[in-house]
Symmetry: C2
Subunit: 125 residues, 2 copies
């Protein structure tokens, strides 16, 4: 059960895919993260949690923003948690959620096209 | 049909989700991109194309890296194309693929935790 406290440092990084092709193993792990992000409700949940950077968010403050049911929200939060994108802790009646910055940073860096080398085709923006 | 040439500039950007919560409309659009990335074969295909930054890749050079069938590769390339992550052009016998840097940059920036504000919990890395 996760009991990690929110931190903002990203210590687990990825080589951008513009720099180096992914191995099969890395692709399987990273695809799980992207798959968890591939749903509008999950993406909004993550953004609601992330936009309080460094702070926790009570599940009671998340449900109001959605028209879907409480159990559906819980399911989506579980998918985000299992993908390592968020952490949580139950305290009393409520569960509190926070983002896992290192995991988000790893996915962000993988897609970082600014790390690309100069194009060799002679075409520029 | 896409006929755009590969460029490296990223001109379509996103506000990082650590800075601002997503709207329903933005979430739907962005989730489509992440969903396309949420498969190991698609992620490896994208990385094989992206790691030749600025260059096109012939489909004939992609299939050898996978144990899955040609039609399966074609299906996954179609999903990436429909999500706006890659562009393609048929020339003669072969189809040539390139990444769409602006789309990758938008997804990368959304997950950019380095844009976060100073934590208010007093916890630091």
């Amino acid at each position: 059960m996760p009991n990690q406290l929110p931190v903002l440092a990203a210590d687990a990084c990825c080589t951008p895919l513009v720099t180096e092709a992914l191995t099969e193993e890395s692709a399987a792990d990273l695809a799980r993260g992207f798959k968890a992000l591939g749903d509008p409700v999950r993406l909004r949940l993550l953004s609601l949690i992330a936009s309080r950077a460094g702070d926790e968010v009570c599940v009671c403050d998340l449900t109001d923003a959605f028209t879907v049911s409480g159990p559906t929200i819980s399911h989506h939060l579980k998918v985000l948690r299992e993908a390592g994108l968020i952490g949580c802790q139950r305290r009393g009646t409520w569960v509190y959620y926070w983002i896992v910055p290192a995991k988000l940073a790893a996915l962000s860096q993988l897609l970082d096209v600014s790390a690309a080398a100069t194009p060799t085709t002679g075409i520029s923006a």
